[in-house]
C-alpha cells in the first residue's frame, strides 16, 4: 500500500478530481493535442504566449488521475514562466518521474514534487508526462497530435 499512497497522494487526487485551469483558453495563440493510445487519454493544451513568457495556459480533455493532475499542476506551475524556464522544468520533471538523479542545476519543482511516486510505476510515466509533451508541441508550434507511443 505504501507505493500506492506515494503515487496517489492527496494533492494528486485533489487535482485529478478538480483540475485547475480546465477549459478552453479563448485568446490562446498556441495549442496542441496529446494522446496516449495505451489508455485513451486525450488532452488539449492552450497557451497564450506573450514575447517569451507563458502568460496564460489552460487544458481540456479526459484522462486518468495521474494525467489529469499532472496537467492541472503543470498549468499552475508554468504561468509566468519563460520558454527556457518551462523547458528546464520539463527536464527536471521528467527526471523526477523516471527516477533519474537530480543535477546540481535542477530548478525547484515546487508542487510538482508530488509526482515522485510515479517513478515506482514505470507503466504510468507516460500518463504523467503527456501534458508536458503536449505543451512542448504547443510551444514549438507544431500543432499536430502528439502521441506518447
Amino acid at each position: 500500500m505504501t507505493d500506492l499512497q506515494d503515487l496517489y497522494q492527496e494533492l494528486i487526487l485533489d487535482h485529478g478530481r478538480r483540475p485547475r485551469n480546465f477549459g478552453k483558453l479563448v485568446d490562446a495563440n498556441k495549442t496542441a493535442e496529446g494522446y496516449n493510445p495505451l489508455c485513451g487519454d486525450k488532452i488539449r493544451i492552450y497557451v497564450k504566449v506573450g514575447g517569451d513568457v507563458v502568460e496564460d495556459i489552460k487544458f481540456e480533455g479526459a484522462g486518468c488521475a495521474i494525467s489529469t493532475a499532472s496537467a492541472s499542476i503543470m498549468t499552475d506551475a508554468l504561468k509566468g514562466k519563460s520558454r527556457s524556464e518551462s523547458e528546464k522544468l520539463f527536464k527536471a520533471f521528467h527526471d523526477l518521474v523516471t527516477g533519474q538523479q537530480r543535477g546540481p542545476e535542477t530548478p525547484d519543482l515546487g508542487k510538482l514534487e508530488v509526482f515522485s511516486g510515479v517513478s515506482e510505476f514505470p507503466t504510468r510515466v507516460k500518463c504523467a508526462t503527456l501534458s508536458w509533451h503536449t505543451l512542448r508541441a504547443a510551444l514549438s508550434g507544431e500543432g499536430e497530435v502528439v502521441s506518447t507511443e
Binding site: M1, D3, L4, L7, Y8, L13, R17, L38, C39, G40, D41, K42, A62, G63, C64, A65, I66, T68, F121, T123, R124, C127
Partner: protein, 423 residues
Amino acid sequence: MKAIGKEAKLKTTDNAPKLDVHKIRQDFPILKQLAYGKPLAYLDNAATSQKPQAVIDAMLRYYTDDNSNIHRGVHLLSERATHQYEASREKVRRFINARDKKEIIFVRGTTEALNLVAQSYGRANVNAGDEVLITALEHHSNIVPWQILCSEKNARLRVAPINDAGEVLLDKFAELINERTKLISIAHVSNALGTINPVRKMVALAHQRNIRVVIDGAQAAPHTRIDVQDLDCDFYAFSGHKVYGPTGIGVLYGKSDLLESMPPYQGGGDMTASVTFQKTTYNTLPYKFEAGTPNIAGTIGLGEAIDYVSEIGLDSIARYEHDLLSYGTESLSQVPGLRLIGTAKEKAGVLSFVIEGVHPHDVGTVLDREGVAIRTGHHCAMPLMERFGVPATARASLAMYNTREEIDVLVAGIHKVKEVFAL
C-alpha cells in the same frame, strides 16, 4: 428487440465432465508466482493466455532435439521437424472440424489471417462500389484490413449496430446485406465485451445471397468448441497464444475451393512448384499461402496446446467458465458505483467494467499492486468504446485455470480502489 438467437449459446453440455481447476493450475508454472508478495491472479486472458508446461516442453524439445527446416531436407532432423509440423496441421483440422487439412493455413495470428483474406480474396473480389460488412463489436484487426481494402478499391465499409447490452442487432445486420455486399467479417466472440455473436445464423443470412463470411475466432477458440462445417463459414481465423499456445502462430481456415481460387498473399520459398524468371507455378494448398520458413516451433507448440485443451474437453471448459462468469457477474454487480459494459445474454469469459469517479487506468494500477492482472484501455476497439461513451474500460478476462477465489480477490481489489480514491 431480440438480438441473439438461441443457437448462439455456447455448446455447454451439462453432462460434460467437471474440470478439476486445482489440477489444471498445477500445469501452468507461471501461476505459482507471487506478484508484489501476493498470489498472482491472472485475469488478462483475452490479451493472452498462459502456457501449460506441456507446451513449453514441446517447444524446448523441438529446439533441443529436432530443429531443422521443413519440407526440403532429406536428412533425419528435417524429416522429424516436417512430421511434427504437419501433425500439428492435422490436430488443428480436428480441433475445428475442417474437412481437409489442406484447408488449414498457418499464419502469425488472427491479424495476419484477416489481412490475408483482405489482401488475397478481397482484392480479387471487391470492386468499386461494393460493400464489406462488419459489426460495431469488432477489434481493430477486423476493421483496419477492410478499411485498407475499401480505400484501395473505392468500396464501402458498412457497420452493423449493436444494442446497449452489446449484442448485434440481427435485423439491422440483415438489412445491411444487399446486392453490393461482397464480404462479411464478424467476430465470433467480442474481445472487449465477451458477447457471443450468433455467427451460425449470420452466416446463413449471408449465404442466402451467396456472400462469403469471415469469422474472427480469436476470442472464441479458447472458450467454445468450433465446428467450421456446422457454422458453414467460408473463413475462420484464430491465434495460438489465446488458446494456451505460443505467440506468433495462428490459423486461417478457408474452404478449399475458395483458397484454390485465390491469388497468393506473399511470394517466397515453399509456396512455389516451379520458378523461372518468366513464370512461377504455385504450390498446392495449403503451401501456396505459406511462403518462407514458417514458425515451426510455434506450430508444434500450438499442436501441443490443442492436445492439452482437447484432453480436458472444450465442453468441460465452457461449462466451467460459464459458471465462473456468472459468479463474477454477480459479484461485480453488487459493487456500488460499478457499471458492467457488455451485458449480452450470451457471453464468454469477459467482465468489462467502469467505476464511477475512477479512470480504468487507475483501477488497473491499484489492482496490479494487489496481485490482480487485468487489462485497462480501449482493447483495440475504439469505435466500440465510443458507442458506450467511455474512453476505456477495465477488463477482467477469464480462463479455465481461474477460480472463484480469484474473483473474490478482484472484488476486494476494487474495494481497495474505492478506498484509495476515497469513494
